[in-house]
């Protein structure tokens, strides 16, 4: 990672965060009682899951006949949903693997959630082939293995079978990647917890101590998995595109399918990441970690991939004309002007036209626009698969069998099941693991924190030469910091260490570093300074009520802090009783 940061780069972590603030802000949602929005979300998800589960049972009990599939259109919502979910999963791997290889720092804000989304989306997708058999107790027919079925092997010539291999490989690697990233963070959670909770996290963090060797192995493993995951992202959706390009109807295909499906998958995946993270950052108050910069970057990717998909759509149409091949021409005529013209229209407007709004910076940085468009994009990407399947099948070579298809409530219900499942899993994930990769965000703090880069950076960092050295030194400290944190099991100690360095960096001045007091960060220090409190002695002589008033006035973000011990701590600092203060701080947790 480059230690020198170009001036034009915007900060990716706001709010003058220290390492401790990062741990605190990201881990605390898993340690508190869930707020009302989480409970509302969970109830809603479980309701969807229950209704969908009923529809699934209904399907299995009465058979696939409860769906509206017919002889002509043998694939309907099921494979549409399947591919849609697979596509959504792609953003996770792109963010975690490809952006890691490209050293994109903004990935750290969203990679954890996106990777989790990948896992959950693939789980949702994987259900459909099983459901589509209609008799799930025969699902083992899908797997090739030496058997007594004699010549009844799976069809190795079929891309549908390749899909089984591709997706199971993809799922495995994505899961490993996600879990590898989680290990240090689970260790952080372990170190912050007690009792049964500690035992559980201890088990899942694999005895991570944060030793240098651990970090070294962790980094090489991440890179190896990234190297494996990158071709897998391509292969999975390539094979999904083969499903359509080779199997929908004989004689019809377009060769551009593989790369454009990959682009489309990333397109829909990013849209889903945005839909989820815009809510998550609000509910869990993570706006300073998932900043407008992150949102804008993702919107640019949506614009890019949406336009790539647009080029592909137009190329297909154009080549259908150019080829002079009547079957190809007929397929595309049907899409645009056939009985399913409305779905083609929906696909074109949602996937090609709607992302074009993101040419405007104002819209790229608008939460409301982004949220609405992210949903529009995913509607469009659903329609893309529907268009490819239903319109192509509806008008095959035999006009007497032409047909039209619309789903029954049962099919819709099975789709809803996956929403319920996806949301339930995601909400559980938010409770048990940090939704942002703590260690990875820390690794970019010194090069992307707003106290180091950007217009609000602290004055003393503007001296370029000086900046080079300090930042280079500090980047190295990042790993060390977390190492201490995990090995000692007491995060407070680490933070004191880090903040001691702050003093070294800070220019000598008349005022004391109030951040020495456990619970005071740079922002609160600023508030206290504004209130006329500059030294430890002053703070020691201030009444707790007064500090509370200052915090209350500053808004809800600060109201949660409990300054009860601050004057006492400040007194110790002012008296130079560092050892005692440190010992006491070890017992305190976040100043509470």
């Amino acid at each position: 990672m480059s230690a020198v940061v170009a001036k034009v780069r915007k900060p990716l972590i706001e709010g003058y965060k220290t390492y401790h603030d990062i741990t605190e802000d990201i881990c605390s949602p898993t340690e508190k009682v869930p707020n009302i929005w989480w409970i509302v979300g969970m109830v809603a998800s479980l309701s969807l899951l229950a209704f969908g589960g009923f529809c699934l049972l209904y399907t299995i009990w009465f058979g696939i006949g409860t769906w509206n599939l017919n002889r002509t259109i043998g694939w309907g919502w099921d494979i549409t949903n399947f591919v849609w979910w697979i596509g959504i999963g792609h953003a996770g791997t792109l963010i975690s693997a490809i952006l890691l290889l490209f050293r994109q720092k903004w990935r750290t804000g969203v990679n954890r959630a996106a990777e989790a989304m990948t896992i959950f989306a693939v789980i949702c997708a994987a259900m459909f082939p099983g459901i589509h058999t209609g008799r799930p107790w025969f699902d083992w027919f899908m797997f090739p293995y030496p058997n007594t079925r004699g010549p009844l092997w799976v069809n190795f010539n079929s891309p549908l079978l390749w899909d089984l291999f591709a997706i199971s490989t993809y799922f495995t690697v994505s899961l490993l990647f996600w879990y590898t990233g989680l290990v240090p963070d689970l260790a952080t959670l372990r170190d912050r917890s007690t009792g049964m909770r500690k035992k559980i996290y201890n088990f899942f963090s694999f005895g991570w101590t944060g030793a240098a060797k651990h970090w070294q192995r962790w980094e090489s493993l991440s890179l190896i998995l990234a190297g494996l995951a990158t071709p897998l992202v391509l292969s999975v959706h390539t094979i999904v595109s083969f499903d359509f390009a080779t199997s929908v109807i004989p004689g019809w295909h377009t060769t551009i399918f593989p790369p454009y499906f990959v682009a489309g998958a990333i397109f829909s995946g990013f849209a889903m990441v945005l839909t989820l993270m815009l809510i998550t950052r609000k509910v869990l108050k993570l706006e300073e970690y998932i900043t407008l910069e992150h949102i804008e970057s993702m919107n640019k990717i949506i614009l890019l991939t949406g336009t790539i998909v647009g080029v592909a759509y137009l190329t297909e149409l154009f080549i259908a004309w150019y080829s002079g091949y009547v079957y190809e021409q007929f397929a595309f005529y049907n899409r645009a002007l056939g009985p399913y013209w409305w779905s083609y229209f929906a696909m074109m407007s949602c996937n090609v036209l709607s992302p074009q709004f993101f040419w405007f910076k104002k819209i790229r940085r608008s939460i409301v626009w982004t949220f609405v468009l992210s949903i529009v994009v995913n509607i469009g990407m659903w329609f893309e698969r529907f268009v490819i399947i239903a319109t192509t099948l509806a008008r095959d070579y035999l006009p007497s069998s032409w047909s039209y298809y619309s789903p029954t409530w049962v099919e819709v219900g099975v789709y809803i099941l996956t929403f319920g499942l996806f949301m339930t899993l995601f909400l559980i994930f938010c409770r048990v693991a940090p939704v942002i990769a703590v260690a990875e965000v820390k690794s970019i703090l010194k090069s992307s924190g707003d106290q180091y880069v950007g217009p609000n950076a602290k004055e003393h960092h503007h001296d370029d030469h000086h900046q080079d050295e300090t930042i280079a030194a500090k980047v190295d400290d990042v790993a060390e910091d977390t190492t201490y944190s995990s090995s000692s099991g007491v995060s407070a100690e680490t933070d004191t260490q880090t903040e001691t360095e702050e003093v070294v960096v800070a220019p000598p001045s008349a005022k004391d570093d109030l951040k020495k007091v456990e619970g005071i960060g740079p922002k609160i220090e600023g508030l206290l300074n504004d209130a006329g409190i500059y030294t430890w002695r002053q703070l020691a002589n201030t009444k707790v009520e007064f500090i509370k008033e200052v915090l209350d006035k500053a808004g809800p973000r600060y109201r949660i802090h409990d300054p009860g011990t601050w004057p006492k701590q400040a007194e110790m600092a002012a008296d130079g009783l560092w050892d005692e203060l440190k010992k006491w701080q070890d017992e305190l947790d976040g100043g509470k």
Binding site: M1, S2, A3, V4, V5, A6, K7, V8, R9, L101, P231, L234, T238, F242, A245, T246, P250, G251, W252, H253, T254, T255, I256, F257, P258, P259, K300, L304, T307, I308, V311, A312, L314, T315, E316, F318, I319, Y322, S323, G324, Y325, V326, Y327, W359, Y397, G454, P455, D464, D468
Partner: protein, 541 residues
């Protein structure tokens, strides 16, 4: 540290020498060209090299726009090299103008769609499929389209270049959070260029290259071609960095930059292979006769090009560049860059030459063969399913049971009624021969060495289908009198690049180097006022 490159006399001599070689090769080609070929060999060489080098310039411009849009910082210290490549675009425009002039004057017959009477229903030459494309494939659209689009690209290339160079003399943006006005302006132009390049490049590729095989089409072809340019541009960048460093320039470009460019070379080679495979796989699997004929021709008649392409552009770079250490070794990187430049030049060779070769034979043996008939590997015309014969679709079907087995079907049409189709069914033997690829590849290696006496041996390799192979070769289709080859005819300049091709390549290379050196000498090599300059200097440090 020397920040300015001077285009020295010896470099000038080198580029002029290369250009002279090219000119000699061209003249030699013109004077030795067989009668009735309309100088197809020389013209196709001009087209081949024009497409290749113009494309490098285009993709470099595109890469510049990508880098600006993506806030890429690491490449800044060698961005002048990419800019210098992009400066070849106006020359590319002139070269395309030559091809356009040849098209209008009828000097070359590279494009079958430009043949006389091809869109005239009353002509014996009439071809309904080409007629259907004639709104796009006609000299006017070709001229306006190619020149207009490449002209537009040239404008953007100059825009990026001038914004970048102007910044050298004006440091008002250094150390500013909002960057310089040049940088901000180039971001806007880059954002506009991305869709311009992305949407328009397919047309240029279609006119210049894909329309040579006038019947054939593939939606993937445009991205595939662009990927080939991309690898080549990265390879040239690596060569220039290594060369300039050897002259003592570009000291701020480190092993880290080279390593990352090596990753690009590896990654884009794999990407190219991915696109190659996707296109091949889908065409092979779908088995639509109109499309498979393209690969059928290449695997059977041009096996050295077909497999050589994959070996040079996938197997070797994959195996050699996959290791970390090789990407930091100057010798290996130089070798790989040279290999991939040549490899992708061969890739364009195999995109262009087989179609030209067929067109040539098509024209010279036009005795009642229907349009749409294609020379089979024995030099026999095989009528590819003429589903559109009377404006009425005829279902594509496989007439030959054994064809189903290996999926290498060509749909032979038994309808003699139109007086166009000549069905030479004894050509079928070759449809069995899906398992014979390797052997045919080896056979053709024999041809490399001009071993025309090895025919008997060729047949021996033919997996027991020798009796089928023996049916062929009786039409004397192949000019030059060597019509009797196991894997089709061989003609230097089409099946393999000969001295004329290599010579002309060197000539174009000389021209390209001349333009690049000139552009490099006109601005400082390191853009010190660039907002990312420090970042690039400290790349990975």
């Amino acid at each position: 540290m020397n920040n300015n490159f001077t285009f020295t006399g010896s470099q000038r001599t080198l580029t002029f020498a290369l250009m002279a070689i090219g000119l000699l090769a061209l003249l030699f080609g013109v004077f030795t060209s067989p009668e009735g070929t309309h100088q197809a060999r020389v013209w196709s060489n001009i087209l081949h090299n024009t497409a290749f080098f113009m494309g490098i310039a285009f993709i470099s411009t595109f890469l510049i726009a990508c880098k600006i849009s993506a806030y890429s910082g690491w490449h800044t210290n060698f961005k002048r090299i990419l800019e210098a490549f992009s400066m070849f675009l106006p020359i590319g425009l002139l070269l395309v103008l030559i091809i356009v002039a040849g098209l209008w004057t009828g000097s070359h017959h590279l494009y079958h769609w430009a043949a006389d009477g091809i869109t005239d229903p009353n002509s014996a030459n009439y071809d309904s499929i080409i007629d259907g494309k004639s709104k796009l494939l006609n000299p006017i659209m070709y001229t306006v389209g190619t020149l207009g689009i490449i002209g537009l690209w040239t404008f953007f290339a100059f825009k990026f270049r001038s914004l970048s160079v102007s910044e050298d003399k004006d440091d008002h943006g250094v150390g500013k959070h909002e960057g310089s006005s040049y940088w901000r302006s180039s971001k806007v132009w880059a954002a506009i260029f991305l869709p311009v390049g992305g949407f328009l490049s397919p047309f240029v590729i279609l006119w210049l290259i894909m329309s040579i095989d006038s019947h054939w089409y593939s939606t993937m072809f445009f991205w595939y071609t662009s990927a080939s340019w991309l690898v080549t541009a990265v390879a040239f960048t690596i060569l220039f960095i290594i060369y300039l460093k050897s002259l003592g320039h570009l000291q701020q470009v480190s092993d880290e930059h080279l390593h990352d460019l090596g990753k690009y070379l590896f990654g884009f080679s794999v990407f190219w292979t991915y696109l190659w495979f996707s296109q091949f796989m889908l065409i092979w699997y779908a088995n639509v006769g109109e499309e498979t004929i393209y690969f059928h021709t290449r695997t059977r008649q041009f096996p050295v090009l077909f497999y050589g392409n994959l070996i040079m552009n996938f197997a070797l770079p994959f195996l050699i560049l996959v290791a970390n250490s090789t990407k930091r070794m100057y010798g290996i990187m130089t070798f790989m860059a040279v290999l991939l430049i040549f490899g992708h030049w061969i890739d364009f060779f195999q995109m262009i030459k087989p179609g030209v070769y067929e067109g040539l034979h098509h024209h010279s043996h036009d005795h009642g063969d229907g349009h749409g008939s294609i020379i089979d590997l024995d030099g026999k015309p095989v009528n590819v399913s003429k589903y559109q014969k009377d404006g009425e679709p005829v279902l594509v079907q496989n007439d030959h049971g054994h064809d189903h087995k290996d999926g290498k079907t060509h749909n032979h049409d038994h309808d003699h009624g139109d007086g166009k189709a000549h069905n030479h069914d004894h050509g079928d033997g070759h449809h069995h021969a899906g398992d014979g690829h390797d052997h045919e590849g080896k056979d053709a290696h024999g041809h490399d060495h001009g071993a025309h006496d090895a025919h008997g041996k060729d047949k021996g390799h033919d997996h027991g289908h020798g009796e089928h192979a023996a049916h062929g070769h009786d039409d004397g289709h192949h000019g030059g009198g060597h019509g009797d080859h196991g894997a089709g005819g061989f003609e230097m300049g089409y099946h393999l690049p000969g001295f004329i091709e290599i010579g002309m390549f060197l000539g174009f290379l000389g021209l390209f180097l001349y333009v690049v050196f000139t552009a490099l000498s006109r601005a400082s090599l390191i853009p010190v006022n660039d907002t990312y300059h420090d970042e690039s200097t400290h790349h990975h440090v």
